[in-house]
Symmetry: none
């Protein structure tokens, strides 16, 4: 977090320095204003994208999904099941998507990670739940109320 802010400052300083340098090199007249704006716009957009990505990284997403750290999960009936097999939040997330019937590639697209990562998570899930196939994991998760209702 602190590093992010520092890097942001450094980037801005670098940008300004570059702009100042370019100013004396190429842009002797004010006709280059559009180029100026373009450079700044593209740069700051990329920088902002990186910042936005960085800031939304720790939390899941501020919109639709809550962070589920189910030491105890609640089923639709109000019963609590306290068996999460030691799954991490990310692994639980992957498990839910697997239960939806998505392939690894589709899960990877949805979570914006590579397919390798999804497979790694899945392997850890199967290992923790002591199953060999995704179908078994889905059934087991269903039984133990690990999956969201509906």
């Amino acid at each position: 977090m602190t590093k992010t802010v520092i890097l942001f400052g450094i980037s801005m300083a670098l940008l300004l320095a570059l702009m100042k340098g370019f100013e004396y090199m190429f842009f002797t007249k004010d006709m280059a204003l559009e180029v100026y704006i373009g450079i700044v716009g593209v740069f700051c957009t990329l920088l902002g994208s990186w910042i936005g990505w960085k800031l939304t990284r720790p939390k899941v997403s501020p919109g639709s999904q809550e962070v589920e750290t189910p030491a105890e999960n609640q089923t639709g009936n109000g019963f609590f099941v306290s068996n999460d097999y030691g799954l991490s939040p990310r692994e639980h997330e992957v498990l839910v998507l697997i239960a939806k019937g998505l392939s690894y590639q589709e899960i990877a697209d949805q979570l914006f990670v590579s397919i390798t990562t999804v497979k790694t998570h899945a392997s850890n899930i199967f290992s923790k739940m002591d199953v060999q196939r995704r179908t078994q994991a889905v059934m087991l998760a269903q039984k133990t109320g690990l999956l969201p209702p509906t």
Copy 2:
């Protein structure tokens, strides 16, 4: 995704228009370059942050890939109407074993048929239930009460 790109374009156009308007209002000389850059920088940083956040957040529901329970399968009082999707007895048998997490080979061994037969049945099951993967079939069968409780 497409919406994001479109909104980005609109925002950029809006920004340029605003800049052009400001240009004739306040900034008659190029001495206001720093202000210009500041505005563009802040704006594009915010825009980029929004874009990064938008692109990073996982999709809520792709809709086309998820298993949907047909409405006629479940009544309001919680009872399940028998919906076997036109599955033959043998196909239903295979479906149950698939839901147990068995592989085609294991199912074939248990039913004393070849693995080819099991795969044929499975293909017909998926076709009748209108799903692509065994996981989806299992979830759908679970929802519609097609599987025996265990």
